[in-house]
């Protein structure tokens, strides 16, 4: 187990390292940020001083090594636009996005998995067909369109829910939280549902597919032959067996929701990381872009590691292999 962890950790560090190189070179290729940084009317001497200050006069490998050295000490540089340490900037936006992503995952999981299990348990029933129809809508209708529709119906026409923003927040252990008040909840409901819809469709399909497969297995038949009540056949024998693909997709989706909630955040004017990265791309705010992408890589690698460790908990056959 320890050996497995160390091996995975080394892999993770290698991935982060390679990605940092790709991201750095890629962003470097996009263009020269100095034009954005400087008043076009500034004189040549000031211009050159600034170039030297940011190290843009150095060759690319030297710039990269400097960047890498700083990164290892947790210093991602300073935003060209906000003049703030990039890490602080990103972390200040993290709670809003985290809150939104977690709410969306929660909705998708609590609704999607039971619906999928039911649809797989009675695949020929009318309710199952309705559920599957809904899931197709869930991941085929574009997020922005659903978002606009939600605002149209629930904010504009009915006026039940606010059309955007995060509402008031409370500080809990140093982190801003908005879901503790009714008003906060009313703000998060639409964007969270909007963000959840795609995942909901996906989880329904996954749970259904696993269910159909496992329900026809010999061990389910054997459990029934022992006279186990149906409820227990499903909860004891089936759930753990369908969990592996669900956990995998859950992990990936959670990562991508955190990283790329951009569309929903923009539509609902949600003050999260998505808006920050869009702004930074528009303004060629290079340190923010690079730091953000690298943090995303670290996020994905971490989630994957957690998912892999969960596999071992779910399937003893993987556990033995991992230990060997």
């Amino acid at each position: 187990m320890i050996g497995f962890l160390i091996q995975r950790l080394i892999q993770a560090i290698a991935v982060v390292f390679v990605m940092s190189l790709i991201v750095f070179v890629g962003v470097y290729a996009i263009g020269n940020p100095i034009d954005v940084l400087i008043d076009p009317a500034a004189d040549q001497a000031l211009r050159e001083a600034l170039i030297r200050q940011y190290g843009f006069d150095q060759p690319l490998p030297v710039q990269y090594v400097t960047f890498l050295g700083n990164m290892l000490t947790g210093d991602f540089g300073e935003s060209f636009v906000y003049r703030l340490p990039v890490l602080d900037l990103i972390l200040s936006r993290l709670p809003a996005t985290l809150e939104l992503a977690l709410s969306a995952m929660l909705i998708a999981t609590l609704v999607g998995i039971p619906l999928g299990i039911w649809a797989g348990y009675k695949p020929d029933s009318l309710s199952a067909k309705l559920i599957m129809g809904f899931s197709v809508l869930g991941f085929s209708v574009p997020t922005f369109w659903v978002g606009l529709l939600l605002i149209m119906v629930f904010a504009v026409e009915l006026g039940w829910l606010p059309s955007g923003g995060r509402g008031p927040t409370q500080e809990v252990m140093g982190v801003d939280v908005s879901i503790l008040t009714g008003e906060g909840l009313s703000h998060i409901l639409l964007p969270a549902f909007n963000l959840a819809l795609f995942k909901l469709g996906l989880l329904i399909r996954l749970a259904r597919a696993g269910m159909v497969e496992v329900m026809s297995s010999d061990f389910v038949r054997f459990a029934r032959a022992q006279g186990l009540p149906e409820r227990q056949v499903v909860s004891l024998h089936v759930l753990k067996n369908i969990a592996i693909p669900i956990v995998t997709v859950f992990g990936l989706e959670f990562g991508s929701t955190l990283a790329f909630a951009v569309v929903t955040e923009t539509i609902f004017n949600w003050p999260g990381m998505g808006k920050l990265i869009i702004d930074s791309i528009m303004l060629l705010d290079r340190p923010v872009m690079v730091a953000y992408l690298i943090l995303v890589v670290i996020l994905f690698v971490t989630i994957n590691l957690v998912v892999d460790l969960t596999y071992g908990q779910l399937d003893p056959r993987i556990r033995t292999k991992g230990a060997a």
Partner: protein, 339 residues
């Protein structure tokens, strides 16, 4: 042995597929006495498994039981409400399946699975259920059962897994266990051990077994009675020794002629010529007719059930083999003498 625990009468189970509807089980009748082992023999596709599932009420769509009775101690299981039937399964009638790799849940410990099986019928504590599971493992000859309870299925050999399955089926001391080819996937020596164990269990616990197999050699070493199945029907039944010594149905005779261990060593093994027809293309009258050396015009009509030995034996055939004709028959299955 006169005491009948399970009586299957005229059982019919149909499947509706896109190509058409057919009866995988077509009027099957047989009795099982207390502690008796009945072999249910036939080629693959003859309807043995579906017979087993029908007895337990485990037939799944597109299959449906369309006729007959399954009496357990006089009570017709087919008339029971689903919840009542569930309480029968595992408690009064149990089933074991062919593939020991697949019948145990790969992600749960043996103990977890067996404890759930105990508590499905008896509201005992987990500790008590565990004790019963451990005792059951001991009964089927599993060494250090306490440790096995904590093992996962993949940590046990195929033979051990099948013993675990049999122990699970035995937990509530059911009147009957349907065993669907439980030793087919195991090698011969392990199979022999398990057969001996089952024989002992039937004698000691009074649990009866319906032992489904395609191997007549297994039946000859294990069963009290045998039912031979062909194309959804039982074509011959009787005491195992008698049927094997002198089969009355041409299909049984053909099966017997192809069993190596029942033969002179070195003699060539004749096979039953041809193969079983797909269920939707069964011929009119006797389904065995295209493969039968004794077939005549009469066989175009449904064969009658001919009984022998004071009805202790029966064969579904227009021209059953005479007892003395068997010797010449067995030396050459291809003997085409029709009368």
């Amino acid at each position: 042995m006169s005491d009948v625990v399970l009586s299957v009468q005229g059982l019919e189970t149909a499947f509706s597929t896109r190509a058409g509807t057919f009866k995988a089980v077509d009027g099957v009748s047989f009795d099982v006495g207390r502690g008796e082992i009945v072999g249910l023999v036939g080629e693959s596709g003859s309807g043995k498994s579906v017979t087993g599932y029908s007895i337990l009420g485990l037939v799944e769509p597109p299959g449906r039981i369309v006729g007959g009775r399954v009496e357990l101690d006089g009570e017709n299981l087919l008339a029971l409400a689903p919840e009542k039937m569930r309480r029968m399964r595992g408690a009064r009638v149990a089933m074991v399946f062919q593939d020991p790799m697949m019948t145990l849940n790969p992600v749960l410990r043996i103990g977890t699975q067996m404890i759930a099986a105990v508590r499905a019928h008896d509201p005992v504590s987990k500790a008590d259920a565990r004790t019963r599971a451990r005792d059951a493992l001991g009964i089927v000859g599993i060494p250090s059962p306490e440790e096995r309870l904590d093992a996962y299925p993949h940590q046990l050999s195929g033979g051990m897994r099948q013993r675990v399955a049999i122990a699970t089926a035995l937990l509530h001391r059911p009147a009957v266990i349907i065993a669907d080819e439980p030793t087919t996937a195991l090698d011969v020596s392990i199979q022999g051990q398990i057969l001996a164990e089952v024989r002992r269990l039937a004698d000691e616990t009074g649990t009866a077994f319906v032992w489904i197999t395609h191997d007549l050699a297994v039946v000859s070493s294990l069963a009290d009675k045998v039912c031979v199945m062909y194309a959804g029907r039982i074509v011959e039944r009787g005491p195992a020794d008698d049927v094997i010594a002198s089969p009355r149905h041409p299909y049984t005779a053909g099966l017997l002629a192809s069993v190596p261990s029942l033969h002179e060593p070195g003699a060539p093994l004749p096979q039953v010529p041809g193969s079983a027809p797909p269920p939707l293309q069964r011929p009119e009258g006797c389904a065995f007719r295209p493969r039968c050396a004794r077939a005549s015009e009469a066989c175009l009509a449904d064969p009658p059930l001919a009984t022998f030995d004071d009805a202790r034996r029966a064969a579904l055939c227009h021209h059953p083999i005479e007892p003395d004709a068997w010797t010449s028959f067995s030396t050459s299955t291809a003997s085409r003498n029709a009368s």
